[in-house]
């Protein structure tokens, strides 16, 4: 009988790996930088959001360092890939805290990964500012967690208000991505507000994130012919839906949420004349916005920034401001400073309520016209 365990091998491997890691950490970069962590999906299905947010964050870091850093120290942004996976995100966070000893974290980009890390982050009292995690629970009972974006239900209500008042819609169809909390959350808020405003939800269709074929659902919507079709999802899902709808000859107006940002470039035709709620308008006369767009394009081979990039950018600036005003890298001081934030960035003015959510942030309504995003109006929910 040869036995139960392989302990030595185990030990050797464990120890070897531990010392390798320990080695890595000591060889970290210089001491007089302020390290800020970033966690988001840089590979996998959700990579586009993570990479956009990171590009925005990188730009902000560059600007801050060019302007002399924070109290004389440069910021170093250490970004790890979560692959959109909970375990990966937790490991990445642990590594940021223990190996890299960051003072604050920008992230996660997705709601799911942020929720997974939430408990540990709260335990550590780590200052966290998520640029884009919109799920309600992210900041609940977490005094150290903040976010730069407005919440799912907030923009859903804004979209409904816009549809009934500005588009005079009486009937609406909603397409929901089952299994995507973002899509489900925004839709639910939309449906509630739309009905409250006196409208009727004529049809509710759902699909799952891995679907590529929406013809069955759109065939049904075409039969019902509602005034608006609300599709709160991301570009790479919305684009094909709009294209298919156009191909099938559906004439109803489509309305969406901030996930639509970017739809104007590649789906200009299909998206023509439709609306969505967003964090900022690229054609806003605001100097901050225009400077941001110019700098972003210069840094990212002339690509237009989307709202993920803008929020990533704002998140880093907000965090930097907080660290600056805290005057130290102590987490309690940074959190206190974050609570007193009043920063005006690309996506508007950021102030946090007691939960750590943005207070009274205005929702920008964008119209897609001729491949451009045109500022339509702003809505502040009451």
């Amino acid at each position: 009988m040869k036995k139960k365990v392989v302990s030595v091998l185990l030990a050797v491997l464990f120890c070897a790996s531990i010392f390798t890691f320990a080695g890595c950490s000591s060889s970290g970069s210089g001491k007089d930088t302020i390290k800020i962590g970033f966690i988001g999906p840089l590979s996998g299905d959700a990579a586009i959001y993570g990479t956009s947010a990171k590009a925005g964050a990188d730009l902000a870091v560059k600007e801050i360092n060019a302007a002399g850093g924070i109290n004389g120290k440069n910021i170093e942004l250490i970004a790890y890939d979560s692959k959109g996976d909970q375990t990966e995100a937790i490991n990445a966070y642990n590594r940021l805290r223990d190996q890299d000893q960051v003072v604050a974290v920008i992230g996660g980009v997705l709601s799911g990964e942020t929720l997974a890390m939430k408990d540990i982050m709260v335990q550590d009292n780590m200052p966290v500012l998520s640029p884009t995690a919109t799920a309600v629970d992210v900041t609940a009972n977490a005094p150290n967690i903040f976010r730069a974006c407005f919440l799912d239900d907030y923009q859903g209500v804004a979209a409904a208000n816009f549809s009934t008042s500005n588009l005079s819609a009486k009937t609406a169809a909603v397409m929901i991505c089952k299994g995507n909390p973002y899509s489900e959350g925004v839709s639910a808020a939309f449906e509630g507000a739309f009905t409250a405003n006196g409208g009727t939800i004529a049809d509710e269709e759902s699909y799952s994130a891995s679907d590529k074929d929406y013809s069955a659902q759109l065939t049904k919507i075409k039969e019902l012919n509602p005034d608006v079709v609300f599709v709160p999802d991301y570009v790479q899902i919305v684009g094909p839906i709009l294209q298919k709808a156009k191909e099938m000859g559906i004439t109803a107006k489509f309305v969406g949420a901030d996930g639509w940002d970017g739809v104007q470039t590649e789906y200009a035709d299909a998206a023509q004349g439709n609306y969505f709620t967003n964090h900022y308008a690229a054609d806003s006369p605001s100097e901050t916005v225009q400077n941001f767009i110019k700098a972003y394009k210069a840094a990212n081979s002339n690509k237009d920034p989307n709202s993920f990039a803008a929020l990533g950018y704002d998140a880093v600036h907000t965090m930097a401001e907080a660290i600056k005003s805290a005057g130290s890298t102590d987490s309690k001081a940074i959190i206190t400073a974050l609570n007193n934030t009043n920063y005006t960035g690309v996506t508007g003015t950021l102030k946090f309520d007691s939960e750590g959510n943005p207070k009274d942030k205005e929702v920008t309504i964008i119209k897609i016209d001729g491949g451009q995003l045109k500022f339509e109006t702003t809505i502040v929910n009451k």
Binding site: A47, K212, D213, T219, E266, Y267
Partner: protein
């Protein structure tokens, strides 16, 4: 009724693409008993090439479709040569893991080269809506179904009627006996990979035209569905793959249209499981009894 007919066409559209991809799985399985997990990635690269040719080189439509098919045929041959041939006598599960490795490799290679954000496939075919007795069909759908059927018939004729086609069948039935006939087995296997990959690439192109986008992980889901289609029809049997593809496409569309969109995939799996429980080798599969 019109709505039903419309959904029927939708199902035919998806089904024909699944069928094209499933053929590649089934041919490779038939000849070397390997589930070629990398087939979905062959499909994805085919779509990327078509995207590049259509956007950057301004090639005519026929070339945008044919050239990627040829490139991917060669790529399929190369994959077999580098990754699968050394494992031909190895345990089958090792070959399976290699196939998974190749699949992940190609996916991440695409991610590195093309980045994660989806590219928008330009319309390859002029867009009009054709009205057939109350049923509206877009030209893209029509072309997709037409092209798939055309290539499937072509392949079927090739396999059934030509000398090379007979050699392919001979090798998948009995490699040793095929050698005794003077057939170069290695070359025949390469040929099979070439044909399967070309059809897979075509499937990828049509898929990306129909569903607008090209992205690194686009091969995963249709790949899995097509594989299920191949198993459902009886893996290793070409007509089975086609049949399986159409069935899966149809079931998926009809479930979404009349039952539930979120359970559509689950229902596809349930049908697969039920079919296999009653017919363990698939719809067209032959029951083989192990000799005692």
């Amino acid at each position: 009724m019109d709505l039903f007919l419309q959904q029927l066409i939708n199902g035919l559209n998806v089904g024909s693409i699944y069928a094209l991809i499933a053929i590649g799985y089934t041919m490779v399985y038939g000849i070397i008993k390997l589930i070629n997990f990398a087939h979905g990635e062959i499909m994805m690269f085919g779509a990327y090439f078509a995207f590049i040719f259509a956007t950057s080189f301004g090639m005519p439509v026929w070339a945008v479709i044919l050239v990627p098919m040829i490139i991917m045929a060669l790529a399929g041959v190369a994959v077999e040569f580098i990754a699968y041939r050394p494992l031909r006598d190895a345990p089958r599960l090792s070959a399976l893991i290699t196939a998974i490795g190749v699949s992940l490799f190609l996916q991440n290679l695409a991610l590195l080269i093309f980045k994660a954000d989806p590219k928008v496939m330009p319309k390859l075919f002029p867009e009009t809506i054709i009205n057939l007795g109350g049923v509206e069909i877009s030209s893209t759908t029509l072309v997709t179904i037409g092209l798939s059927l055309f290539f499937m018939v072509l392949l079927d004729l090739y396999i059934r009627k030509t000398k090379q086609g007979r050699a392919v069948r001979a090798v998948s039935e009995d490699k040793d006996a095929a050698i005794l006939m003077g057939i170069n087995v290695d070359r025949t296997i390469s040929l099979t990979f070439a044909m399967g990959s070309a059809l897979g690439a075509l499937g990828g192109i049509l898929y990306s035209v129909a569903y607008v986008q090209v992205f690194p992980t686009m091969g995963v889901m249709p790949g899995l569905k097509a594989f299920i289609a191949a198993v459902l029809g009886g893996i290793g049997i070409i007509p089975g793959a086609m049949l399986g593809g159409f069935i899966i496409g149809m079931v998926e569309t009809m479930t979404k249209a009349y039952l539930s969109t979120t359970w559509a995939d689950a229902i596809v799996y349930i049908i697969l499981i039920l079919v296999l429980l009653f017919k363990p080798t698939g719809i067209l599969g032959k029951n083989t009894r192990e000799k005692v």
